[in-house]
């Protein structure tokens, strides 16, 4: 019996050589769904239909934004022949049971309503606190906090890099005091709170602040429910920054976060793998899922190297997909993702508990797909995206607001996003039946194609070095750069159609939409708070706690508890980031076009 760290090494070597496909089991010979005689009849009839129809373009690609485009040839119409070997019990199954194609819970939306989790964050914490209360009153059952650029990039609001950017596009958080102001009078133990802490490094800092704030509000950490993003791909690939930590350091902090949160905040989802932001940067439906899975596999192997068994940590892993325009493909690939993640966790990582096999995901409807021109059209787009998400079985959803291309949303736009989901869920009867698209020849075919597509990307990424190596060599950057440029050309040439932009352009006056005005002088207010903070705290203790982080790093310990103690003494985010930079150095990605 190998110890779990050796197992991890072995698995990594196997993946290097065989990829993931080589490690998955072949389907057992279950009973095929379709009667071979019926299939033959159909095949014969199809042949004569083709002659009568004289149709040459039986296969065609769809050109959608962020779509697979030429990589997928769709049939003019689907027949059982497209899924002739379908074995219902092995490939589709039942909700809440392997292979989870139909959903991870027994009763899905009937039992557990989809969490309506709108995004909020702008100005100072006090400003955002007001909007949080508004959303809660309007029916939101979860909240998703977004931070401003200086906070995301880990600079304090008074840092020269932050000039002119404080409180725009997100809320400014510099210290625990800000975190407490953000959640003033918000019942953290009764809600699910998502902190969009993109990176592992800022997750460690901001989550520490959140935990200290909760403690000081008298809340037991065991009661806290929510999510942090903590995605290594965000820090090393999707986002650019003046100063990034090197990929290996980023993964180390990522695993530190998972390890610590798992133990200390048991109801907290410690990661949502991208997903969404990667897709928006410029990859298609298959690459999005492949990269997220590659990430999750790498993390799992690192946790196993630290002695944790897969069943100890897989049950809280979660993913975060974007939803684009190709409605059926979006729903189908979510089914494929569930089926594939089950196979990977069970047969590659060796997890034995069913909870470890669930592919849980939050979705956000695509922002890039929305246009500046005729912004009210975006309500229609987002509605279709939301529909795809529900048909695909997402656990929680954010619907992008129609003024996405202008600014962060106004209250009215925000409300409409909530209502979109509520209307679909409450008025249409769609959520009363689980996985309603199952059995459609087209959707089952799309599900199979999606699984194949994702697997081939996954093999490409993991064979011969793993995901960290792929990041260091610039493989992902190159994929994004080429994809984006090609897509831009296709839009300019009109191959990808955007209504109101490159087709059906209208000169008619469009209704003026109300654009959000940022509260003035957020930067000034934060600056004053920082001055006060630095005066009132015990600077010697802060310095000691910051040094302790450095020392813990040399001993290769988990840094989270040390960061937590530092922020407890009111160390600021920028100060902790400085320590991380001094430990790990800074890194720039290899971008070549």
């Amino acid at each position: 019996m190998l110890d779990v760290a050796s197992e991890a090494r072995q698995i990594k070597n196997l993946i290097n050589v065989k990829g993931i496909t080589g490690l998955l089991p072949q389907l057992t010979d279950g009973t095929k769904l379709y009667n071979p005689n019926a299939l033959k009849e159909i095949a014969d009839q199809l042949a004569s239909w083709s002659q009568k129809a004289g149709h040459t373009d039986f296969e065609i690609s769809s050109y959608t934004i962020l779509g697979v485009k030429d990589r997928l040839k769709k049939p003019l119409f689907a027949t059982p022949l497209h899924v002739k070997d379908l074995v219902y019990t092995e490939e589709i199954g039942y909700p809440g049971e392997k292979p989870y194609t139909r959903g991870i819970h027994y009763t899905m939306y009937r039992g557990k309503k989809i969490t309506i989790r709108p995004i909020v964050g702008f100005g100072t914490p006090e400003d955002t606190n007001k909007r949080i209360h508004f959303l809660l009153k309007s029916g939101a059952t979860g909240i998703n906090i977004v931070f401003d650029l200086p906070t995301i990039q880990e600079y304090d609001s008074d840092h020269p890099f932050a000039a002119g950017q404080v409180g725009l596009c997100g809320v400014a958080i510099d210290s625990v005091e800000d975190m407490k102001a953000l959640f003033k009078d918000v019942p953290l133990n009764e809600l699910s709170i998502s902190l969009t802490t993109h990176y592992p490094s800022n997750t460690m800092i901001l989550m520490s602040m959140y935990l200290v704030a909760a403690e000081e509000m008298g809340i037991d950490l065991g009661e806290l429910r929510g999510t942090v993003q903590n995605c290594p791909i965000m820090e090393t690939v999707v986002r650019t920054s003046p100063e990034s930590l090197p990929p290996k350091a980023v993964y180390k902090l990522h695993v530190d976060n998972v390890e610590f949160l798992r133990k200390t905040v048991p109801k907290w989802n410690y990661v949502t793998y991208n997903g969404y932001n990667l897709r928006e940067a410029g990859v298609d439906e298959f690459t999005e899922i492949a990269v997220a899975f590659a990430n999750a596999i790498e993390t799992s192997l690192q946790l196993m190297s630290r002695g944790h068994r897969p069943d100890d940590f897989l049950d809280r892993m979660a993913f975060f997909w974007g939803i684009g325009n190709d409605l059926f493909l979006e729903a189908a690939r979510m089914r494929a993702a569930r089926r594939l993640w089950y196979k990977i966790t069970r047969y590659v990582l060796g997890a034995q508990s069913p909870r470890s096999w669930w592919c849980r995901f939050h979705v956000q409807t695509s922002g890039i797909s929305l246009t500046r021109e005729e912004p009210l059209n975006n309500i229609v787009r987002s509605t279709l995206h939301a529909l795809a998400g529900i048909l695909g079985g997402a656990q929680s959803m954010h619907v992008s607001c129609y003024d996405e291309a202008y600014s962060i949303p106004t209250e009215a736009a925000h409300l409409l996003s909530l209502r979109t989901q509520q209307i679909i869920l409450e008025e249409t009867g769609i959520a009363d039946v689980i996985d309603p698209l199952a059995g459609s020849f087209y959707v089952e075919w799309l599900t199979n194609e999606s699984e194949k597509g994702i697997l081939s990307e996954l093999d490409m990424l993991l064979k011969g070095g793993g995901i960290i190596n792929a990041i260091e060599e610039g493989v992902l950057h190159r994929i994004i750069a080429e994809f984006s440029y090609k897509e831009q050309s296709m839009i300019q040439e009109g191959i990808i159609k955007l209504v109101g932009v490159n087709c059906y352009r209208s000169d008619a006056k469009v209704p003026e939409i109300d654009v959000f005005r940022y509260p003035p002088d957020a930067e000034e207010r934060q600056r004053k708070k920082l001055e006060k903070l630095r005066k009132e705290r015990d600077n010697e203790t802060v310095a000691d706690r910051l040094d302790a982080i450095k020392e813990a790093a040399t001993r290769e310990e988990n840094l989270f508890p040390y960061v937590l103690e530092a922020v407890r003494e009111r160390a600021t985010e920028g100060e902790v980031f400085n320590v991380l930079k001094s430990i790990y150095g800074v890194w720039k990605p290899l971008v070549r076009i």
């Binding site: 100063e243 070095g465 890194w587 720039k588 290899l590 971008v591 070549r592 076009i593």
Partner: protein, 333 residues
Amino acid sequence: MNNMKLQELIAKAIEGDRVSISKIITKLEYGDTKIWDEFLKIVNQQKKAEKHHFIGFVGPPGAGKSTLIANLAKNYFKAGKVGVLTIDPSSPYTGGSFLGNRIRMLDALRGMQNVYCRSFASRGSLGGMSTEAYMASKLLSACGFTKILLEGVGAGHLDIKPLLYSHTRVIILTPASGDYVQMLKSGVMELGDIYVINKLDVGSPHKIKQELEEVVNLKSHTTGWKIPVLLTNAVEGIGVDQLAEAINIHYEYLLSSGLYNARCKEMDMSELKDIFISYAVKHFEKIVAEDSQFLTAYRNISSIREIVAGVFNKIVQEINAEKTASIENVKVG
């Protein structure tokens, strides 16, 4: 631009004015070949800096050249003025280029007043480095830059110019065995003075080091220089001190063995050859395109010697005419 202005600029450059250095290099790169004459004359007149040291680095993309060079410039070559010239390939179709090395050195070189860093496109020149880049390094050495680090791209036999224009030739690989095989195939192995295997956590670095050492030991026996094969991890700064030491030791070796002058001669020969080729190619295309007699003669299998002589004569005519012609763009590609 007239001689006076160029002379003024060079005088200012020698005093240390960076903006002047940059302007001169721009004229060299984007101006026209006419100023090369004046430029070389003036530069060669300058009191030579103590024997300058050109160090060339080649290796496949992603091998870590930029990181190593930045580290060397920042931590080990602090004493004097250091020039860093990086070269990226020009697109053969559009002529454009993406010069992506500087961004990777930005953090390391921030605030280093003694380091001058410039990015070049290869401009379709054979060997992956334009003559202008070599001229720029001459300018820098005339301005008191004692160490010039030249970074090339690619490891194939086509991209070895940065080595030909250097006293000390460094070849960088990663342990991915693909790099090593490419190296062997390309014949670049003939040229290296120092080998570096970067990134120790991928593939089998020690195995590659061993194999490489066997290969280079054969060569070492014929010269007085024992070619080192070093292991580094540039991102974490491991082994860079050894690389710096090896580079300095090689420099001492060149001086003490008298090989330094031989190398300088090789470098100038390479430069002269490249200048010749760039003139020839530039004019060739124009001449053969405009005058069909050469192509016709060639296709009728007339005397090759006569055809070549004929083209050369025309080239000479054109070059002489250049003196009086108006400014023209020198780009070959």
